[in-house]
C-alpha cells in the first residue's frame, strides 16, 4: 500500500483470490485482504457480505475453493482452528466462548492446559496467564467464576485467552455489540495499545463510528467481493456506506417524523416483576407514550428491557403495577386480549418468536389473521384465496425479497425476515407497538426501509416503544429516551438534546437520578 509512510514492511498476512461457495451460493469471490504488523484493519460490510465466511476461512473453520493464505510470506494451509492457533491467529468470536461455570483461569487455559499426564497444573496455569492478564489490565482473582463477571470483563477475558495462546494476529468479530459506549472506548484504547505492542488486529464491524474510531485501514466487502481497501483517514462515513450498499442515497441521520400528539396511549405505572432468567426484575417502572410518539428504551442488555417487553405484551405477569392502553387496563389480560385492543409486538428473538422459521412466508405474514380463527372457526380453511392474495400484496408492499409467498422463512435474509414480522404487526393498525431490537441482524438498506414504515405508523397516531441496544437507532427515531439500569428507569432525556456519551453515563448507573423511579 502506498499509504504506509515508512519503508513498507512486509505484511504478516495476505489473503489472495479467496473464493468460497456453499452449493450455488457464492459467499466469497476472489477476495483479497492483507494485514501489516501493528495495524488495525477494519473489515466492514452488510450482513451476508461475506465477512464472517472470510474470517472462518482464516481461522481454519472453512476450506476455501480457491485462493491462497500467506502468513509472514509463506503459504499455509489451515485445516482446523488448531492450525490457525498454532500459526499465531486468535479469534474473539461475536458470542462469548467462555464456559460460565468455569473459573477465569480454567477458561483462559481451556484447550491448552499446562501440566503433565492429563493433570491440570494450577500453579503453572496461573503463572502463564499472569502476563496476558496484566497486558489487558485485568486485575482479577483467577479463581473467580466466569459467569459472575460483567460483559466488558468477559470481553477482556476473551482477548486474554487469545494472548495466552500467543496470537500475533487477533480477529475481533463485532466485539462491541454488548458493550456500553464507555466500555467500547476502553476497548479501543486497549486495542490500540496491543497494536502498538506489535499485534495485528482485524476488526469486523458494521458500526461505522467504531470503524473510524479505531481502524488504520478499511476494507469493504459487498456481495462476497472486495469493493475497496483504503486508509481510514482518506474516507468518510458516506463513502463507506456507499461502498457497502452500492447506493449513494442512504440516510444515516435522524428520521423525519410528525410531532407527537397530546393524548396518552400507553401508560405504565409502578410496574414490578420477579427476577427473569436472563434479565433483571422490573422495579416500579413508570412511563407514558403519547399518540404518534416514539419512546426509546436504552440500556445495557440484561437491565430489564426484555422483562419490560414481555410484561407489556403479556407473556410475563407483573407482581405489581398497572398497564393501560388508551384508558383500558391491560394488566390482567391475556396476550390475545391485549392484541385485540390494539397492542402489537416485534419480539427481539426473531427466529424463535417472530416468524415460523420452518414455515412459509405466508404463514409468517398471516399469523395475526389466523389468531382470530376461534372456536369452530379453527376448522375452517386457514388460507382462503383472498388471504393468499393479501400475502402477495404484502410481499410487494414491504419489498420482501423472496421467491414467493410459499418460500420457507429460513431461506430469507435477516432483513427480509424482519420485514415479514413488521408487515404482520403494522398491518394490524395497532394503537401501540412494542419494538424489541427491531433491526438486529438487519442490513442498512432494510433498516432504512423499516424506519420509514415506523415513521408512517406514527403518522397515523401509533405510539411506539422502541427497545434497542443500538444508541444510534434510538437517537435517530425517538422523541424521548428512557434509560434502564438494574430494572429501574434511571433517566429521561429528549432525543434531540442528548448525546451518546450522556446516555452511556446513565446506562452504567453512574448518573442515576432518583426522579424516574
Amino acid at each position: 500500500m502506498s499509504s504506509n509512510d515508512q519503508a513498507a514492511p512486509s505484511p504478516v498476512l495476505e489473503l489472495q483470490g479467496i473464493t468460497k461457495t456453499f452449493g450455488p451460493v457464492v459467499a466469497n469471490e476472489n477476495v483479497n485482504f492483507d494485514l501489516y504488523p501493528g495495524e488495525i484493519h477494519a473489515l466492514v460490510g452488510e450482513n451476508g457480505a461475506g465477512k464472517t465466511t472470510l474470517m472462518r476461512i482464516l481461522f481454519g473453520m472453512y476450506r476455501p475453493n480457491a485462493g491462497s493464505i500467506r502468513l509472514g510470506g509463506r503459504e499455509v494451509e489451515l485445516k482446523k482452528p488448531m492450525d490457525a492457533i498454532e500459526h499465531g491467529i486468535g479469534m474473539v468470536h461475536q458470542h462469548f466462548m467462555l464456559v460460565p461455570s468455569f473459573s477465569v483461569l480454567e477458561n483462559i487455559t481451556l484447550g491448552a492446559e499446562p501440566g503433565a499426564g492429563g493433570l491440570f497444573d494450577r500453579g503453572r496455569a496461573e503463572e502463564a496467564a499472569r502476563g496476558p492478564m496484566e497486558r489487558l489490565g485485568l486485575a482479577l482473582d483467577p479463581s473467580t467464576v466466569t459467569g459472575s463477571l460483567n460483559v466488558a470483563t468477559q470481553q477482556k477475558l476473551e482477548i486474554t485467552k487469545v494472548l495466552y495462546r500467543g496470537a500475533k494476529i487477533i480477529i475481533l468479530d463485532e466485539p462491541t455489540a454488548v458493550l456500553t459506549p464507555q466500555e467500547t472506548e476502553e476497548l479501543f484504547v486497549l486495542l490500540k495499545k496491543l497494536a502498538a505492542d506489535g499485534s495485528s488486529i482485524i476488526f469486523i464491524s458494521h458500526k461505522l463510528r467504531e470503524v473510524f474510531a479505531v481502524a488504520d485501514r478499511i476494507t469493504v466487502l459487498r456481495n462476497g467481493r472486495t469493493v475497496s481497501t483504503t486508509p481510514a483517514r482518506d474516507l468518510d462515513a458516506s463513502a463507506v456506506v456507499a461502498a457497502m450498499t452500492g447506493r449513494s442515497d442512504v440516510n444515516l441521520g435522524r428520521i423525519t417524523r410528525n410531532a407527537p400528539e397530546d393524548d396518552v396511549v400507553l401508560s405504565v405505572s409502578g410496574l414490578s416483576t420477579a427476577k427473569f432468567e436472563h434479565d433483571a426484575a422490573l422495579d416500579s417502572i413508570n412511563f407514558e407514550v403519547r399518540a404518534g410518539e416514539v419512546v426509546g428504551i436504552a440500556g445495557v442488555e440484561g437491565n430489564g428491557q426484555s422483562a419490560l417487553a414481555e410484561t407489556l405484551i403479556g407473556t410475563a405477569a407483573p407482581l405489581a403495577g398497572k398497564i393501560e392502553l388508551a384508558g383500558t387496563d391491560l394488566t390482567r389480560l391475556a396476550v390475545s386480549a391485549r392484541r385485540d385492543l390494539g397492542l402489537s409486538y416485534v419480539p427481539e428473538d426473531r427466529h424463535r418468536e417472530g416468524i415460523p422459521i420452518n414455515g412459509s412466508v405466508l404463514e409468517g405474514l398471516a399469523a395475526g389473521t389466523l389468531r382470530r380463527h376461534r372456536g369452530w372457526n379453527g376448522l375452517a380453511n386457514a388460507f382462503p384465496r383472498a388471504l393468499q392474495a393479501w400475502g402477495t400484496d404484502m410481499i410487494s408492499k414491504y419489498a420482501i425479497r423472496t421467491s414467493g409467498r410459499n418460500a420457507k422463512c429460513h431461506t430469507l435474509s435477516g432483513g427480509n425476515q424482519q420485514k415479514i414480522v413488521m408487515a404482520r404487526e403494522l398491518e394490524e393498525q395497532p394503537k401501540c407497538i412494542v419494538l424489541a431490537q427491531p433491526t438486529r441482524g438487519v442490513d442498512l438498506g432494510a433498516i432504512e426501509f423499516l424506519y420509514d414504515r415506523i415513521a408512517e405508523a406514527t403518522a397515523r397516531s401509533c405510539a411506539v416503544v422502541l427497545i434497542s441496544a443500538d444508541l444510534d437507532e434510538i437517537l435517530r427515531l425517538s422523541d424521548r429516551v428512557l434509560v434502564m439500569y438494574r430494572g429501574r428507569m434511571v433517566a429521561e432525556e429528549t432525543a434531540t438534546e442528548t448525546s451518546r456519551e450522556e446516555l452511556g453515563m446513565h446506562m452504567t448507573g453512574a448518573k442515576a437520578l432518583g426522579t424516574a423511579a
Binding site: K80, P81, M82, I85, M91, H93, H95, F96, M97, L98, V99, P100, S101, F102, E106, N107, L110, G111, A112, E113, G115, G118, L119, F120, K161, E277, H351, R352, I357
Partner: protein, 306 residues
C-alpha cells in the same frame, strides 16, 4: 443392636448398584447427554455377567468381559447420538424397552428358562471380610463383609472426586456440555468427549448389573433391576454434577430401600414399604425443582438447529 447391623449391611448392599449406575451416568450429565437408559444397560450387564460366568465359571472373566462389552456398546451408543444425531433421550428409552424384552427372549431361547435363571455353576463375587473390623458392631456392618464390587464403587468415588479437581479431561467433558462452541474454538474435541462419556457410562452400568446378578445372589431374574436405574438417574439429577453429593444421594436411596425390606409387616404392608425409595426420590425431585435457581433441570430438551 442386631437389627441396626442388619439394616446397615442391607443398606450398603442396595446402595452398591445404585451408586455404580449413578457414577456411570454422571459424565453423561456433564456432557448434557444424560443417559436415561441406565436401567436397560444394567439389565444387559446383569444378564451378560451370568451368561459369561456360567460358560467360563470364572467371576473375573464375567466382570472383565462385561465391562469390555459395555464399553463397546457405549462407543456404539455414542456414535448414534453424535454422528447419527439420534436424540439421546429417545435412544435411552429405546434401550430400556429393548433390554427388558431382549433379556427375556434370550433367557428363553438360550436356557429355556422362564422367570429366573439360577445355577450352582454361576460363580459368586468374593465377599471381603476385614479382620478386626468384622466383629465391631455397626462399623463392621458398614465396612466389612461386602462384595468386592462394593469396594470398587467406593474407590471410583474417590477417583472421580480427584479427577474433577485435578484433571483436564473432566474440564473438557464439562465444557463439551456447557459450551461446546467454546471447547471447539479452543481446539478441543466435543464429539470425542460426548462418546467417551457414554463409553464410561455403559462400562460402569455393566459393573452395576453384575453386582445385581452376582454380588449377593447368583441368579438372573427377568426385570431384576426393578427401577434401580431410575433411582440412580434421580440421584444424578439431584446432585447437579457434584460427585460427593451424588454418593450421598445414592446411600440415601440405598438405605431407604433397606427400610423397605427391614420394615415389619405389622408396621405397614410390604407392598407399601416397597414404595419408600421411589417416594423418597419423587419428593426429592420436587424439593429440587422448588429450590433450583433455574427452575430445575430439563433433560434432553430439543434445541432449534441453526
Amino acid at each position: 443392636m442386631d437389627w441396626i447391623d442388619a439394616f446397615l449391611a442391607s443398606g450398603i448392599r442396595f446402595t452398591t448398584p445404585i451408586l455404580l449406575a449413578a457414577l456411570a451416568c454422571l459424565p453423561t450429565a456433564w456432557t448434557k447427554d444424560l443417559n436415561v437408559g441406565l436401567e436397560g444397560a444394567m439389565l444387559f450387564g446383569a444378564f451378560s455377567g451370568v451368561v459369561i460366568g456360567l460358560s467360563t465359571e470364572s467371576g473375573i472373566a464375567a466382570v472383565g468381559l462385561t465391562v469390555l462389552i459395555g464399553a463397546a456398546c457405549g462407543a456404539v451408543f455414542g456414535y448414534l447420538i453424535t454422528y447419527l444425531r439420534v436424540n439421546v433421550f429417545v435412544a435411552g428409552i429405546v434401550l430400556n424397552v429393548f433390554a427388558a424384552g431382549a433379556t427375556v427372549y434370550l433367557l428363553r431361547s438360550m436356557f429355556g428358562v422362564k422367570g429366573t435363571l439360577s445355577d450352582d455353576r454361576i460363580p459368586a463375587m468374593a465377599s471381603v471380610s476385614i479382620p478386626g473390623i468384622d466383629g465391631i458392631p455397626v462399623l463392621g456392618a458398614v465396612l466389612s463383609g461386602h462384595s468386592i464390587l462394593t469396594y470398587v464403587s467406593w474407590a471410583i468415588i474417590v477417583v472421580a472426586a480427584l479427577a474433577v479437581r485435578y484433571t483436564v479431561l473432566v474440564r473438557h467433558l464439562k465444557a463439551a456440555g456447557e459450551h461446546p462452541a467454546a471447547l471447539t474454538a479452543a481446539g478441543g474435541n466435543v464429539t470425542r468427549m460426548r462418546i467417551l462419556a457414554q463409553v464410561w457410562c455403559f462400562a460402569l452400568c455393566g459393573l452395576a448389573g453384575v453386582q445385581l446378578s452376582m454380588g449377593q445372589l447368583t441368579l438372573f431374574t427377568e426385570g431384576m433391576t426393578s427401577g434401580l436405574g431410575f433411582v440412580a438417574l434421580a440421584a444424578v439429577i439431584f446432585c447437579r454434577g457434584k460427585v460427593l453429593l451424588l454418593a450421598l444421594m445414592s446411600v440415601g436411596f440405598g438405605l431407604s430401600s433397606a427400610v423397605a425390606v427391614q420394615v415389619n409387616a405389622s408396621v405397614m404392608p410390604p407392598q407399601f414399604a416397597q414404595m419408600i425409595p421411589y417416594l423418597v426420590a419423587f419428593i426429592g425431585l420436587i424439593v429440587l425443582a422448588r429450590t433450583a435457581k433455574d427452575g430445575g433441570i430439563r433433560i434432553a430438551t430439543p434445541v432449534l438447529e441453526d
